[in-house]
């Protein structure tokens, strides 16, 4: 048992933070978000080539660094702090996780090295028209078997779907959900859907008879795991953003003077920031534990991922609201980065499910299930519910 970073992990986190603080200034983040790709291509090159951020969780046999999702999580935390847009989550987490969960050795050999290198951007088309990432019966895309498989339908909220050269799709088959590699990425209709958080780039992808290769049939268990990895990654991103909100608030409250002294010396505000720190610290703890479980394929992954997803979303939501409250009016101006924290909180709070849904899912995993409907109906007939 050792809940502390190794020297290598510390070094990785330090390097990522250093690169980002140099390149992802407030102006650079805004310029990148407004650019055509939606991210800073030069920064991505530095991060992938010099730090190797996209290769971390990919095994060495596929051109990766062969460390784990935990290390990816550390980089995501630094990215969350910087607020910089980046294809790391869409490509090196979602895309790579889907390929790693496939049964297709050839696809792994062919696709993963480019993703690890950062030269290839992958995207995972999964969410349906209601923005649901369903693991058992995805309803956005349908696959039909023929000479080759073809895909039909619409996938929403595809992270980095606009710029991806490799598209992996989750589609319903007559035998349950399947994972597919889209063979002709050019045949996919792509419409960018501007998000409240401009640092996340989403697209809606439409498929009409697009040829695809089956990477894994009977993919429900794989999707469970991909979802767990995805929510862990988002949790790490949220921890970084929450830390940013806290730091921003502390810094501002030391400088801003009211009634003749810095507002950070007022006990009421001090205590609110102390509570923010509590949220950030516990969020980091749950996110790290979940990321470690993802990285080591630990048996506790489903519970820890759901707990982290619920806790970190709520923590960032709280911290972001307090950040706005502590800054006052300037927080809601375009110029101030507090609005980026706030929007990041609201966008990531919905990605792969809201905190409430993760909490309910966790309840199911722990056996905290609602009583059968018949039993409760019967009870309500005989006596007033006591609850």
């Amino acid at each position: 048992m050792d809940f502390s970073l190794t020297d290598e992990q510390n070094e990785l986190a330090r390097t990522a933070r250093a690169v980002l603080s140099r390149h992802a200034t407030s102006a650079a983040v805004r310029a990148a978000a407004a650019s055509e790709t939606g991210y800073d291509v030069d920064l991505w090159r530095v991060l992938t080539e010099e730090v190797g951020v996209a290769s971390l969780a990919i095994p060495e046999e596929y051109g990766g660094a062969g460390v784990t999702w935990f290390e990816t999580g550390l980089v995501l935390e630094a990215l969350g702090y910087s607020l910089a847009p980046s294809p790391l989550l869409g490509s090196a987490v979602l895309g790579a996780a889907a390929i790693l969960e496939s049964d297709d050795e050839d696809a792994k050999q062919r696709l993963l090295p480019g993703i690890a290198e950062g030269s290839s951007i992958a995207a995972l088309a999964w969410a349906d028209g209601h923005g649901q990432w369903n693991t058992a019966s995805p309803s956005g895309l349908a696959a039909t078997a023929g000479e080759t498989w073809t895909l039909e339908g619409t996938a929403t909220l595809v992270l980095d779907g606009g710029s991806a050269d490799t598209i992996i799709a989750v589609a319903a088959t007559p035998d349950g959900p399947g994972l597919f590699e889209v063979l002709d990425a050019g045949a996919v209709g792509r419409v960018n859907t501007p998000a409240v958080d401009t640092t996340l780039r989403f697209s809606t992808l439409t498929f009409s008879g697009v040829p695809a290769r089956l990477l894994r049939a009977d993919a429900a268990p794989a999707l469970e795991r991909i979802r767990d990895i995805a929510v862990v990654a988002v949790s790490c991103l949220q921890v970084g953003t929450a830390q940013r909100g806290l730091d921003m608030s502390v810094e501002y409250s030391k400088q801003r003077v009211q009634f003749g002294r810095p507002i950070g010396s007022f006990q009421a505000l001090k205590h609110r920031m102390a509570d923010m720190l509590l949220q950030v610290e516990t969020a980091r703890t749950t996110a790290w534990a979940a990321a470690w479980s993802a990285g080591t394929d630990a048996a506790e992954l489903p519970e820890r991922a759901a707990a982290a997803a619920a806790w970190c979303s709520d923590a960032l939501d709280h911290v972001a609201s307090e950040t706005v409250q502590l800054h006052g009016g300037i927080a809601i101006t375009w110029e101030h980065d507090a609005q980026l924290v706030f929007k990041r909180a609201h966008a990531t709070g919905q990605l792969f499910g809201a905190a409430r849904e993760h909490r309910r899912r966790l309840g199911g995993l722990l056996g905290i299930t609602p009583q059968p409907a018949e039993a409760s109906a019967e009870r309500l007939d005989t006596a007033p519910a006591t609850l």
Partner: protein, 392 residues
């Protein structure tokens, strides 16, 4: 980063679990704040010592197992999970002993440590005074030099002294230099509770128990051999106790993990369907788990040679608030039966008893207001002295 236990640690956990399963009394002991319950808890300490489980982290020569911090946390988890009795020896083992190890004389260690582990010597703590609660440096009780007898005469009043009604000895700070101000001129003393001149008046709590007492000192003689650390150095000596009480030793995560497990069982055995209450049950699990993991982080920091310092305040605020939320959730589930105490009540009224204990959490061991000040000033670097209105 590695959240797995080693084979040795797993074996240690299994050994503790097996021993506890065999020895933990089947029926809960009477409250330790009654004469009968105190004796029963004292006896349980002796049983624990028989298995060498009283103070696992201590050196073997004092009855410990020389176990590391990780093993200590593991043992605490197993201890609470087994439903074993509350430790009546806690003041001595968790608060005083760390100071004896650090500042005590060999003679003091020999006289006191082993006797702490087998229940033969139970300690009361005597910190607060009517005018010195959270503001401990405001202590007014005095110690006067008695050269002729080679010791000190203690006078004054202490309050909120836990276990004092039945304890054998007590420890606390007294002002030995009347001219010195606040943190200076304090000395740490060890004294017998039956010393001439010492009067103990029990304080009944709102839950009906008498876990605390007021102590009245009238020239209570303490020999030099029972001064802990140097005279006048009491504040520095004592602060390691405060750190202990607020940090790891007082609230091991096992307590909350066990409570959240019981809450989940309560949900499973009851006929509940309310989705919001269900979320609250799940939340209790998440918080207990977060606290458990956070504690592992603290343990790792300590093992790497780091210092807990102000992070103990983060611990304190988090566990005290999670404890209340967890018990409020249980009471909500119990509905009209929640207020009942004693045998006819669900779980013999344990939920409401533990709730009453929980609501005191934000007060003792440094109020949560004090803790938030510490977090804000020491961890976040916010300016001091901004409390309340400025006085002209």
């Amino acid at each position: 980063m590695n959240l797995d236990l080693t084979d040795e640690q797993l074996a240690f956990a299994a050994e503790a679990r097996a021993w506890l399963a065999e020895h933990v009394p089947a029926a809960p002991l009477p409250s330790m704040d009654t004469a009968e319950g105190f004796a029963a808890h004292r006896e349980w300490e002796a049983t624990l010592a028989g298995g060498r489980w009283s103070a696992v982290a201590w050196p073997e020569e004092f009855g410990g197992r020389n176990a590391g911090l990780v093993e200590w946390v593991i043992f605490e988890e197993e201890y609470y999970r087994s439903g074993a009795p509350t430790r009546v020896a806690q003041n001595g083992i968790s608060l005083l002993a760390p100071i004896l190890f650090e500042h005590g004389t060999d003679d003091q260690r020999t006289r006191y440590l082993r006797a702490m582990t087998d229940g033969s010597l139970i300690w009361a703590q005597a910190w607060s005074e009517p005018g010195a609660g959270s503001d401990l440096a405001a202590i007014r009780s005095t110690a006067r030099r008695d050269e002729a007898r080679g010791g000190w005469l203690l006078s004054g009043q202490k309050t909120w002294s836990s276990r004092a009604v039945w304890a054998d000895r007590g420890f606390g700070l007294f002002r030995s230099d009347p001219a010195a101000d606040r943190h200076r001129g304090l000395t740490y003393f060890l004294f017998p509770m039956d010393a001439p001149g010492l009067t103990v008046r029990p304080i009944a709590q709102l839950d009906g128990s008498t876990g605390f007492a007021e102590l009245f000192f009238e020239d209570v003689f303490v020999p030099d051999a029972d001064v802990l650390g140097a005279p006048g150095d009491g504040w520095r000596v004592a602060m390691s106790t405060a750190g202990n009480e607020r940090g790891l030793s007082l609230r091991a995560p096992g307590r909350f993990c066990a409570a959240s497990d019981r809450l989940i069982d309560l949900w499973k055995t009851g006929q509940y369907e309310d989705p919001v209450a269900r979320d609250a049950v799940v939340d209790a699990w998440i918080k207990s788990e977060a606290y458990r993991l956070y504690t592992w982080g603290t343990v790792s920091t300590l093992q790497d040679g780091g210092d807990v310092g102000a992070e103990g305040s983060v611990n304190k605020v988090f566990w005290s608030e999670l404890d209340i939320a967890l018990h409020e959730t249980a009471l909500t589930l119990l509905g009209p039966a929640a207020e009942l105490r004693g045998a006819p009540a669900p779980a013999d009224g344990r939920w409401v008893d533990d709730y009453l204990f929980a609501i005191a959490g934000p007060i003792y061991a440094g109020t949560n207001e004090i803790q938030r000040n510490i977090i804000a000033e020491r961890l976040l670097g916010l300016p001091r002295g901004g409390d309340g209105r400025r006085k002209s």
